[in-house]
Symmetry: C2
Subunit: 142 residues, 2 copies
């Protein structure tokens, strides 16, 4: 999660909402990314989406079985859907997102009954650091 | 929807699950795309995702307010989340997807209470044609 946090710091420095992530396979980081929505001027460029793209390229496979993602903020509906479509094994997140989170907050993944894949979920890793970075970002914006 | 259907036919010809879409603004098609998941070897390449990317590029704006998407199949969780994140006005789809649909089928969008944007939804447009194209595709696969 420290590596995901470093990615989030890069987003902070680029004046993007500070969210970062890494995808790990067999104990090695195979992809990393941070949020670049403003720079790319496109709502698709959340950290997780770019990270999935990088991981699929690296593995030359859309199927990310055997991989896990460490992400500083609970993923939104789009990113959660993308992680499910990619069949990732596990999602480990820093802090929850009460507004947009789609694992435990706004949508509770376990309540959706027909998905063809359910990643394991673990939250609260480096929660305070991940949350403080976001708070500092939005404090500076106001 | 005829134009979205034509995109789906392109996917069919490319041996991809036949789903296509167009994004319309002020009565004009500003972006079109079809599913290219297998070709790109990445689960992100659903028709809607590429179409959102093309539309945001064309408008030079991540915010697709004033736009509507015509898509042959009810969008999945990833694509619905991406359309919400992009603030699209309206989603018009052909046939429902009981397995993966995230508007009315697997997830009912109206039951999620905290989203920051709710697109209008309309389904069943050219339903039989869109559904038959998918059925033919999967029949050929078996």
């Amino acid at each position: 999660m420290m590596q995901a946090y470093r990615e989030a710091q890069k987003a902070f420095e680029e004046d993007e909402v500070p969210v970062g992530c890494v995808i790990v396979k067999d104990g090695k980081i195979i992809a990393r990314a941070h949020n670049r929505k403003e720079k790319k001027n496109c709502a698709l460029f959340h950290a997780e989406i770019e990270c999935i793209r990088n991981a699929a390229r690296k593995l030359d496979n859309w199927n990310l079985k055997g991989c896990e993602i460490y992400v500083t903020l609970e993923p939104c509906m789009m990113c959660t859907g993308a992680l499910i479509n990619s069949r990732i094994d596990r999602i480990i997140y820093g802090c929850e997102d009460p507004k947009g989170g789609a694992l435990v907050s706004n949508i509770r993944l376990q309540d959706i009954r027909l998905l063809n894949h359910y990643p394991e979920i673990q939250g609260g890793i480096m929660e305070k650091e991940c949350s403080d970075l976001l708070k500092n970002f939005f404090k500076n914006k106001r």
